[in-house]
Symmetry: C2
Subunit: 228 residues, 2 copies
């Protein structure tokens, strides 16, 4: 499946939610997990949910091989270990889309607080850890896993994308906008992930107060497509 | 003018923009400046722009006295000095609304980057510096000064409010929603200002890319008023 979207951590809530939406949009999806058996189970569950879709489950290391874009949806606690494990799978020319948020929950702190990451953000940590020639983008921090997983839930929000090159971000934007109701916004270079990753705990704080699943919308943007 | 809204730093771009919008909404406004003469000049300019409005200019220290809510719109570089100067003007029971954003521009860095503030955020620095019994809220970080100052510009965005007590935040929300097109969102306790203050450089980054004046909207909130 050369055009399949491989999701590292695809058995987690965010990964599975994105996989469901991409499957519903007619995209082939590969669900990766450290545990091949869990990956196969999640693939079976997703296939049952979207019978027409092309779905495979495999190990993370297999899922990341020989594809142009890899989606990384992991809890912060597991990000570093997984990137180490992926060193032999990733190769120059690939684009890794990091969705990690360094919530303090990773060390039994609050989900409305974050940990300071030495490199500045989880995405910048990923950039430091990937093999030479692999570029990293950051996206999908503010889309709630429960809304993604609930196919009846109508999405209506933005996804902020950080990365060094506009051409890379345009590829991520195409994946974002393959999901109905999501709009891709260019938030700037990868270092802006320091801020964009913080939107998750901000939304969690708002969710607690309003008992909702909030998202982010940037106002004042032109209607025209800025990704061309 | 007991119901007037005093704006410390009211001759700056954000302060003047807010003053214009409140004046247009029929609110009395006091423009504060370190320099009384500049305050008077700004008040004259605002009076010319909104002839029916009640507007006064005075020193920051006078403007902050004997009012229940004080708005602080200062560049980060000037925040600490001004709070020191206000120590004899502020008194227990007052609510200070801090709008400061610790942009790296304060030390000739980029406006898309921020400085680390020891207390966590500019608002928390303000909370540490005000006299006992003065509470601090944080708001108005994401509303662009140029849009506020352009009375023909139609606002359509949210203002995220941080603070310890909902009753205090409700007072700030009333000021926010006195300006047509702005909606107040409860973002949580004052510590969330660490994140909300970062939205300014994020929007600056987006503005540069899209050549717009972007704002923030939180999606998924209920229509009902949550401030009662």
């Amino acid at each position: 499946m050369p055009d399949a979207i491989p999701i590292i951590g695809g058995t987690g809530a965010l990964g599975y939610g994105l996989a469901l939406r991409w499957a519903l949009a007619g995209r082939a999806v590969v669900l990766g997990s450290r545990d091949e058996k869990r990956a196969a189970e999640a693939a079976k569950k997703l296939s049952d949910a979207v019978p027409d879709a092309e779905i495979e489950g495999m190990s993370n290391t297999e899922a990341a091989k020989q594809v142009s874009i890899v989606i990384l949806t992991l809890p912060f606690r597991a990000q570093s270990e997984n990137l180490t494990n992926l060193k032999d799978s990733l190769e120059s020319g690939q684009l890794l889309v990091d969705c990690t948020v360094p919530l303090a929950a990773a060390v039994s702190g609050k989900a409305t607080r974050t940990l300071g990451v030495w490199q500045g953000s989880a995405a910048q940590q990923a950039q430091e850890m990937v093999p030479d020639g692999v570029t990293v983008g950051a996206a999908f921090h503010t889309v709630g896993a429960p809304e993604l997983a609930d196919r009846g839930s109508i999405l209506d929000e933005d996804v902020l994308i950080c990365g060094e090159r506009k051409a890379d971000k345009a590829k991520v934007a195409a994946l974002v906008e393959a999901i109905p109701g999501l709009r891709a916004v260019n938030a700037g270079p990868l270092e802006m992930a320091r801020i964009v990753e913080q939107l998750t705990p901000l939304l969690i704080s708002i969710n607690v107060r309003y008992k909702v699943h909030a998202g982010i919308r940037v106002t004042g943007l032109p209607d025209a497509d800025h990704w061309e």
